[in-house]
Structure formats: structure tokens, C-alpha cells
């Protein structure tokens, strides 16, 4: 490899910053404006709704009388409504938005066929609206991560197929032959998801398989939505933004290859660790436990690669909102993955499996890692596609600290409370209601944490709305470092 090629493999296409290249990037960014914003803004609307549903569910768990008279707001409906709005409404749509932008940037093509993705976004939101209303009126399938009723999921699948077609088109049109790491992850996510979703829909909703095979398909699917859909998008974004913002190549090309392929090999075998102790043949669960432990390889590899790229540059966290969120996300990824390995061991699972510990773990992954990375990405992307800078630094701070502290306050106490709950349940001499009582303080703290997260979300949405209102105002060049020593916005472009 020539030295330019080596650099290309390590940096997201940023070898020199000549004016012609800048102009091309600006053109690509501008072409992304409407299609990317469509997904992102709808995603954030679902986030607000999902946060509200989460708060209602959380309060109900320590105050069961709260809003108890309405059937459609009963806990068993609000909880799946929350999950589906945040997973398919917020996380998936925002993830798609970020993916579209990254794909255009990395392939060096202006957004092709924007009509295709606009139709896709419309159908996605339509299908999801029908589905969430369906859950609330009682048509939930009660299959975790797949509660959206059967009459709504084909609409989502159709919409998703359009996104997949779009990504193949974009990939074929690419003007940059070099494939940067982020692209491996994004392409993989874009191709894995339809396979997962089609299998789950056919085998669980359309022509359900018999007995506990449903459970194995269910957890193969649900765990892979995390592992093969959100995780690669999140890792792809981290691989793009850390080098981009700190202006330094990633630590090691070979580790990134190893990390990618070991994730691809092992993650998809993990799902059945959700059934440890369950009524399944032992080999299935054993295979998943082994694969879960093997996840140490991609996790440690990626952790070294991300964190070592940051070494010596932590000072930049003070100035770049993108970097703050992304580095928080990268750390949460390492933690949640290690916790996931522990959870999949039989002896530990025996304690925590049916407890709130698992709920805390899920939030460390989907929120601490994925959501934070998406927020960080949006801080970078939105100013570039709208050519407007974020209006309020204070709101960015509220967003970051609300979410970061909220998440820590969510995960740490509830994980601990979950362990106590599990130990209590495994001691048959403790009456069940005593165990229930023991969980109450942790559940109340969780509601408090939820309020902090909600505060962060509102701050972000207000800031974004404000920015979008300014699209008609004067042009401000986007900057990488927003927070300067004096706390005012830096106006010079990086």
C-alpha cells in the first residue's frame, strides 16, 4: 500500500483538504438535506412519544393505580408501545437517516433517487402509526420486539425494501473505490435487517412455527436487531466520526478487519442466551452461550481501536458536542457488551435473567451506546446539510448532561436493584411480595432518571426546531468545535 492508500484505509476519506474536495462534499451534503431530515425529524417525533410512554410505564411499575382505569393505557400495552416507538420509530429511522448521509459521503455521490427514500419514510411512518395504535387497542402479538400487529408489519417491510434498493443503487454509483470500515458495517446492517425481519414475520406472524420454535426464532430475531442492525450502524458511525473530529487516523486497520468479521461471525449466534434455563434442547442454548463469550473478540478489538484513537485527544471532548456523545457511546458499547457476556453465563443468568437487571442492560446498549452515538452524529450532520449552526450552546449542554446523567442514574441503580431482586427470588424462603417491595426504590429512581432523559430530549428537539427555523436566515458556516474556552460559539471553520 502506498502511504496515501494506507491513510485512506484509516481515515474516512480525508487525505487532503483541497477546495475542490470541499465543494464536492458541500454539494453532497446539500443533496442530503430533505431525505435525511425527513427520517431524522420523524425519528425524533417518535422519540418524544416514546419517552412519554416510557414515563407512563415506569410510573405504573411503582404506582399501579396510575391511569389504571383505561384499558388502552394498561402497563402491558404501554410497555410494548414504548419499545416499538423507540426501536422502530426513533432508533431505526434516525439510524437510517445517519446511514443515508454516511453512505453518500463515503461513496462520494450526491443523494441518488431522493423520491425513493421519501416514499420509504412515508410508508415507514404510516405502518408504524397503524401498528402502535394497534398495540394500544389490544392487537399486540405479545412476541417481544415484534409486537406490531400482523396488518402493519408488511408496510414496514415494504418501506425497508426501498431503503435497501436505494443503498444498492448508491453503492453501485460510488465514485470512491476505496471502502472505508464504516461502509462495511453499514452495508452489512442494510443487508442483514431485511433477512431478519422477513424471517421473523413469516415464521412468527404469517405462518407461525410450532411451540417453542417460536421462542427460538423470536430471540434469534430480537437479539439480532440489536447485534446486526443497531450495532453495525452505531459502530460504523463511531468509526467515521472519531477520526473525523480528532483529525487522526484510526488506531489499527487490521484490528478493524478482525473486529468486523468476528462480529459478523459470532453475534448472530447469540440470541438464545435469552432462553437459558428454558424449555429448549440444551445444545441450542449452549451454542449461544459459547458465541456470546466469543463476542469478547470483536468487543475488545473495537474497544482498543476506538479508545486508542482517542488517546491524547480527550481535551477535544470539551469543545465538540459530536465527540462528547460519540465517545460516551463508544464507552457504553464496551461496557454493555462486557455486561452482555456476563449475563449470558449460566451462573449469572440464573440470578439476573428475569429481573430488571436485563432492562437496565438493554438501555445501556440501545440508549447509552446507540442513541448517544446517533445524537453525536446529528450534531455533525445537521449543520452540514442545512448549512446552519446550532443556535444554542446551552441547550446542547442540557441535552448532553440530561442524557448522560439520566442514563447513568437509570442503569447503575437498576442493575444493582435487579441483582438484589434476582438473589431474593432465588431464595424461596423470602416471600414473593417482599421481593417486589425490595424493587420499589430502584423503580422510583428509574422514573427520576427518565425525567432527566426527557429533559435532554426536549432540549435537543427545541434546538433542532430552532435551527430549522433559521434555514431561511443568514448562512453560518458549520464548525467542528462548538464550545470554545470562553464558552461562546467559534465562528471559524475547521
Amino acid at each position: 500500500m502506498s502511504s496515501t492508500n494506507t491513510l485512506k484505509a484509516l481515515m474516512p476519506g480525508d487525505v487532503q483538504s483541497d477546495p475542490a474536495r470541499r465543494a464536492m462534499l458541500a454539494e453532497i451534503d446539500a443533496s442530503c438535506r430533505v431525505p435525511v431530515l425527513f427520517f431524522v425529524v420523524s425519528g425524533l417525533m417518535w422519540l418524544l412519544l416514546g419517552t412519554l410512554l416510557a414515563l407512563v410505564a415506569s410510573i405504573k411499575l411503582h404506582n399501579p393505580e396510575f391511569l389504571a382505569a383505561w384499558e388502552w393505557l394498561t402497563f402491558g400495552r404501554v410497555r410494548p408501545a414504548h419499545l416499538n416507538t423507540v426501536i422502530y420509530g426513533f432508533a431505526s429511522q434516525t439510524g437510517i437517516g445517519v446511514t443515508l448521509w454516511l453512505m453518500c459521503r463515503l461513496c462520494r455521490v450526491p443523494f441518488p433517487a431522493p423520491g425513493l427514500t421519501t416514499v420509504a419514510a412515508l410508508f415507514w411512518n404510516l405502518g408504524l402509526t397503524i401498528g402502535v395504535v394497534g398495540i394500544l387497542v389490544g392487537d399486540s402479538t405479545a412476541i417481544e420486539w415484534l409486537e406490531l400487529p400482523r396488518y402493519s408489519t408488511p408496510i414496514l417491510f415494504f418501506s425497508y425494501a426501498l431503503v435497501a434498493v436505494w443503498s444498492v443503487i448508491t453503492f453501485r454509483l460510488r465514485r470512491e473505490r476505496h471502502l472505508y470500515v464504516s461502509q462495511w458495517y453499514l452495508l452489512a446492517a442494510l443487508l442483514w435487517f431485511p433477512w431478519l425481519y422477513a424471517t421473523a414475520q413469516i415464521m412468527l406472524l404469517i405462518e407461525p412455527v410450532r411451540g417453542v420454535v417460536q421462542a427460538s426464532v423470536n430471540w434469534w430475531f430480537a437479539h439480532n436487531v440489536l447485534g446486526l442492525w443497531f450495532t453495525p450502524i452505531g459502530l460504523g458511525a463511531i468509526y467515521y466520526f472519531i477520526p473525523k473530529v480528532v483529525g487522526r487516523p484510526i488506531h489499527s486497520y487490521y484490528l478493524s478487519v478482525l473486529g468486523f468479521w468476528s462480529l459478523a461471525l459470532f453475534y448472530n449466534w447469540n440470541g438464545l442466551h435469552h432462553l437459558i434455563g428454558g424449555p429448549m434442547p440444551a445444545w441450542m442454548i449452549t451454542v449461544s452461550v459459547v458465541a456470546s463469550v466469543m463476542m469478547l473478540i470483536p468487543v475488545i478489538t473495537v474497544a482498543i481501536n476506538h479508545h486508542f484513537t482517542m488517546v491524547g485527544h480527550f481535551g477535544k471532548l470539551r469543545h465538540s458536542p459530536t465527540l462528547r456523545f460519540i465517545v460516551f457511546g463508544a464507552m457504553a458499547y464496551t461496557l454493555t457488551s462486557l455486561q452482555g457476556v456476563a449475563n449470558s453465563l449460566r451462573s449469572y443468568s440464573e440470578i439476573v435473567h428475569f429481573t430488571h437487571h436485563t432492562v437496565a442492560h438493554a438501555h445501556l446498549g440501545v440508549y447509552g451506546f446507540f442513541t448517544m452515538v446517533m445524537f453525536g452524529s446529528l450534531y455533525y450532520i445537521v449543520p452540514r446539510i442545512t448549512q446552519r449552526e446550532w443556535p444554542s450552546l446551552a441547550l446542547i449542554s442540557v441535552h448532553f448532561w440530561g442524557c448522560a446523567l439520566g442514563l447513568i442514574l437509570y442503569v447503575v441503580p437498576l442493575s444493582y436493584g435487579g441483582i438484589l431482586q434476582g438473589l431474593g427470588m432465588n431464595d424461596a424462603s423470602i416471600p414473593f411480595l417482599k421481593v417486589v417491595e425490595g424493587t420499589l426504590p430502584w423503580l422510583r429512581i428509574r422514573t427520576g432518571a427518565g425525567l432527566l432523559l426527557a429533559l435532554g430530549h426536549v432540549a435537543f428537539v427545541v434546538n433542532l426546531g430552532w435551527l430549522l427555523c433559521r434555514v431561511f436566515g443568514p448562512y453560518r458556516k458549520p464548525v467542528v468545535e462548538l464550545f470554545t474556552e470562553t464558552g461562546t460559539a467559534a465562528v471559524t471553520a475547521k
Binding site: 405504573k60 389504571a68 402491558g76 400495552r77 410497555r79 407461525p208 411451540g211 436485563t358 427470588m425
Partner: protein, 216 residues
């Protein structure tokens, strides 16, 4: 790694492996499972499990629709793994065959409430279930289970006298004189479903413990 086709193949091959291993193989192994026929001590032929019918099946639909699965599991872990059996959640572990006819299978991943695999044997009283569903605080003070008042109807006591299935409410839960609370059909069906939840039959792969079998 600049070679697109190789990347594509790798991406497809990796997922295909677990799709075969964790989706198709289990379906081959377990999809062909059938009910078990045995003769019990008194010489009666028992076929187990049996599909649910009528009210119990309608009740299963309410269980699904109301999301009871988010707080209740339906799986008993083996002896020595957790304390499911010591807690009286079942006399034996559950195995694949127990769920042959469940659609959807609601194993559950949360035990905010107790496991319900064997609730039909543990608690067979209609009255208990009705009071509990109407407001769990009546039977289980301090529970975090939601009340389900909408499964019941509050109405004037008919001229012919109080209905036989009216809830016996007293103290803070009592209703005004001249009124009564009766279960709607949904509550009735749900309770039939709960009462049908039992794993009291021996299976070759999961025998009932001998002591319990002798007590019968």
C-alpha cells in the same frame, strides 16, 4: 477490503450460518414433536398436551392483548437452577412439549410477578382471581400488578337480588349500597385460561418427582 463482492458474500454467509443453526435446525428438531400418550396409575389413557378450546382459548387472547407476559413468565426452570420448584411454581421443569399448541408461546422474560405455568393448580378459586384482577391490593397488599377494573362492570343490584358472581368487596374496596361489581365476559375467559395453566402430567423427558406422584 476493497472488494465489494467478497464483502457481500461474507455478509450473507455469516448470517446464513445462524439462520440454519438457530432457525431451521430447531424447526426440524422440534417442529415434528407430537403429544405424548401414556397410561396413568388408574389405567386411564392420557394424551398430553391438549389444545385449548372455548373460554380458556379466548382468555389466552386477553392474556396476550393485555400484555400479562411483560410481568409473568410461563416456564419452570429445572431443579437446582433458580428456585422455581421450591417456590411452588411447578412440580417439574417445563419442556418443549408442554408448549406444543400455544400460539403465541408466551415464555416471558420477566418475573416482576410470579411464574404462572402452574397457576391453575396453585390457585383454582374463581373468586380469588376475580378479586385479584379487579384490584390486586385486595388479595395481595403491596403488589405492583395493575388493577383491571375495565374487565368488570359496576351496576345496580338487580331486583332479584345480588348476582351470584358479584365480587365480595369490603372495607376500602366496598361499593355503594345498592351497587355491585360483576365480571365481564373478558374477565371470565381470562380466569378460565389461568385455571387451565397446569403442568401436572408426567412426561418421559420430564417426570414428576416420585414423592409428589405418590401423594396424588
Amino acid at each position: 477490503m476493497n472488494y465489494g463482492p467478497l464483502l457481500f458474500l461474507g455478509i450473507l454467509f455469516t448470517l446464513a450460518s445462524s439462520w440454519v443453526g438457530l432457525v431451521l435446525m430447531p424447526n426440524r428438531q422440534l417442529g415434528a414433536l407430537t403429544a405424548n400418550t401414556s397410561t396413568n396409575d388408574t389405567g386411564v389413557v392420557v394424551v398430553y398436551p391438549q389444545p385449548r378450546h372455548g373460554e380458556a382459548q379466548q382468555g389466552a387472547e386477553h392474556y396476550r392483548s393485555l400484555g400479562c407476559v411483560y410481568c409473568h413468565s410461563q416456564q419452570v426452570r429445572p431443579e437446582g437452577f433458580g428456585s422455581d420448584i421450591e417456590r411452588g411454581w411447578g412440580r417439574r421443569r417445563t419442556v418443549s412439549r408442554d408448549y406444543l399448541y400455544d400460539k403465541p408461546v408466551m415464555l416471558g422474560t420477566s418475573r416482576t410477578g410470579p411464574d404462572l405455568t402452574n397457576i391453575g393448580e396453585r390457585q383454582s378459586s374463581h373468586d380469588w382471581h376475580y378479586s385479584h384482577l379487579y384490584n390486586p391490593q385486595i388479595t395481595s397488599k403491596g403488589s405492583v400488578m395493575p388493577p383491571y377494573p375495565f374487565l368488570f362492570e359496576k351496576r345496580r343490584v338487580p331486583a332479584s337480588g345480588p348476582s351470584s358472581d358479584a365480587l365480595k368487596l369490603s372495607g376500602e374496596f366496598a361499593v355503594e349500597d345498592g351497587w355491585e361489581v360483576v365480571p365481564r365476559p373478558q374477565a371470565r375467559q381470562l380466569v378460565e385460561y389461568l385455571r387451565s395453566l397446569k403442568t401436572t402430567v408426567d412426561l418421559p423427558e420430564a417426570p414428576l418427582p416420585k414423592a409428589a406422584a405418590v401423594e396424588e
